[in-house]
Amino acid sequence: MKITRKEFLKISGACLIGLSGKKALAVLDSSAKGQTSSASASKASKQLGMIVDTRKCIKDQGCTKCIEACTQAHNIPSFKDPAHQIKWIWKKPFDDLFSSYETQYLEPSLKDESTPVLCNHCDSPPCVRVCPTGATWKRKEDGIVMMDWHRCIGCRFCMAACPYGARSFNWVDPRPEIQNLNPDFPTRTKGVVEKCTFCSERLAKGQQPACVEACPEKALVFGDVNDPKSEIRQLLAKSYTLRRRPELGTGPNIYYLV
């Protein structure tokens, strides 16, 4: 059988298109499955989460030990201007976190109870979905929503996407504002987004997150919510907890014990 050059090119071109089409289909298929399978797969694998026991946390309203520990561990700058602030964990009035649960008759002291806020390390994180470079992703082995500060292009789509306001952008160079430099943790540069990573660097060394360790009341309980025997699961099983905006389908993994 003789084959002309033109025919050869035609056939090989068609093959190439076919192959790339198959690959594209595979990608689409996996991303479609992603939503459902991640939920069921995460049942089997690990998903780190945290309980904030507001009954213990309320004892000292002025306490900022968790915030200080985080700031120190992660070289978080302390900008005065609220527009430029970087926050990994911070405190807000209870009412701001759970505005849909509010009743006007709640005592102001309870309503304004200052409560820790941090990244929810969602099951289905919208920030990861929108990131155009994969600079933020959900880590398979433990469900942490991670950040690569070297890949981030600073488009801030993730900040628009996050329904919890957990992400901060470095509007200016953060380094001059770092109070007490920790040489073991990287500093960031202007123009990238950052947020809580559940202290992945400490977990790797077998330690607890800095905020959990720093809390004098042991109000923060950290662990694998997929492990029925874990402390966090036991606590979740026998107490009423709230999550922020669960109706959005993001599957937040920070639980508030009330």
């Binding site: 689409l28 527009a83 807000k92 929108v130 155009p132 994969g134 600073g154 901060s168 990238v192």
Partner: protein, 436 residues
């Protein structure tokens, strides 16, 4: 090369205008370098309002770019011959505004030098990736179309036959750029002001009003300055398109308003509260209200046939349409989505002076592109028309050369109006220019 030499000759007025634009661009570029060095903290954006004027302008310009389809579609699919002389102008406007879109994205980026990460690590689940694809595709399509059609016209031959398919492809592609841009917003779970299925349709409706309104203004300005007339029928045809699009856009806004206000769900009403009703104190209220008033005035002028057909009031209507939608999309839509923040904070956003100057610089680039492109297009068209002058009329050649010179001096306009609109002061300024 690319017929650019045609833009290299011109009268003093032409060069003054080009020089002025280049000066604005140079100053803005200086400020941009400063922003690059200092960080985006130079702008009025903040942790809570993390997109501002830049992304608003980007969104608005995607609409202007997409609106070229409102000339291309009637001309190529419905043989609407009246649009013949306007089509190339629409396509050039699209090329310029897509370029502006890309620049607005670039200046908004924290790490613009890493932009190729979007291609190096493509994320198919990110709408931003698809937006980049559709915008750059649209730029390539329109650049190809304008180059080959104009080149053929210059050589007085038929354009290559395959250009027809490119043109056909550009029609759905135009719809796609604004749809995908709508998805950037409507696909986010937590921003309820944006999470509406009619976001993309509303974007398209406002685009098809604002873009053609700008094109009408540019065409009339060209006629005044150069004598190049796209024809009364083309203008009135486009005016009808603007009217329909404006009505549909207003209808969409009212749909949103009803759904929010009647259902009375706080997450939905909050947007209208801070944009139009003033229940929450933000810096947006005066903008939102101005936009609505201009929109209503524009509708009145467009819907009454006598006024729509009168060129003077049509000019006013077009300025109103353009400025109203510029505010609605370029300022209110984006910033409004961030208020209140996920934790209920009301954050004021006011663009800073450097931010405004950088924005103006991008507009100046757009104006410069339109100026150069229209200059090229017109010299081709006018040369072609001049070549048809019968020999016995050559005595009147003096007037023909006069026209030519006039044409070169001409293109002050497009830029002038575009830059004016960038200035926010639009309605009055643009309008007056037309009356005198």
């Amino acid at each position: 090369m690319f017929m650019l030499e045609k833009a290299m000759t011109g009268s003093r007025r032409y060069w003054t205008w080009v020089g002025a634009l280049v000066a604005v661009i140079a100053v803005a570029f200086g400020f941009y370098l400063y922003q690059l060095n200092y960080g985006l903290g130079l702008t009025g954006m903040s942790r809570n309002v993390s997109w501002g004027l830049y992304i608003g302008q980007f969104t608005f310009m995607v609409g202007v770019a997409a609106s070229a389809v409102m000339v291309v579609l009637p001309y190529y699919l419905h043989s609407h011959k009246e649009f013949a002389r306007m089509t190339i102008l629409g396509e050039f406007l699209a090329v310029s505004s897509v370029t502006m879109c890309m620049m607005f994205i670039m200046i908004d980026m924290g790490k613009p030098m890493r932009v190729f990460n979007v291609i190096l690590y493509p994320q198919f689940h990110s709408v931003m990736f698809w937006d980049m694809l559709s915008l750059s595709g649209y730029l390539v399509l329109n650049a190809t179309i304008t180059y080959f059609t104009l080149h053929a016209e210059q050589e007085d031959v038929h354009p290559p036959h395959w250009i027809k398919y490119i043109i056909l492809l550009s029609i759905p592609w135009a719809i796609s750029i604004h749809t995908v841009t709508g998805f950037l917003y409507s696909g986010l779970p937590g921003r309820l002001g944006w999470r509406t299925a009619i976001m993309a349709p509303r974007f398209l409706a406002s685009a098809f009003a604002a873009g053609p309104a700008l094109l009408i203004l540019l065409c009339l300005l060209l006629r005044r300055q150069t004598g190049y007339d796209v024809g009364k029928k083309a203008i009135s045809g486009l005016a009808v398109i603007v009217t329909y699009a404006m009505v549909i856009n207003t209808f969409f806004i009212l749909m949103e308003f009803f759904t929010a206000m009647y259902s009375h769900v706080p997450d939905l009403t909050v947007d209208f509260q801070d944009l139009y009703l003033g229940a929450v104190h933000t810096s947006l209220l005066p903008w939102g209200r101005t936009s609505i008033v201009l929109m209503a005035a524009a509708l009145v002028l467009l819907l009454v046939p006598r006024w729509r057909r009168n060129e003077k009031s049509l000019v006013v209507a077009c300025v109103l349409v353009f400025s109203s939608l510029w505010i609605d999309k370029g300022v209110c839509m984006v910033v409004g989505g961030f208020i209140p923040s996920p934790l209920g904070t009301i954050t004021r956003y006011v663009p800073t002076l450097p931010e405004l100057i950088i924005t103006l610089g991008v507009w100046a680039v757009g104006a410069l592109m339109v100026t150069v492109f229209y200059k090229i297009a017109l010299s081709v068209e006018i040369a072609k028309e001049a070549s048809y002058v019968p020999a016995y009329e050559l005595a009147g050649a003096a007037s023909a050369t006069g026209l030519q010179a006039h044409a070169s001096s001409a293109v002050t306009g497009p830029g002038a109006s575009a830059a004016g609109q960038g200035n926010e002061g639009v309605s009055g300024k643009g309008g007056e220019e037309w009356h005198h």
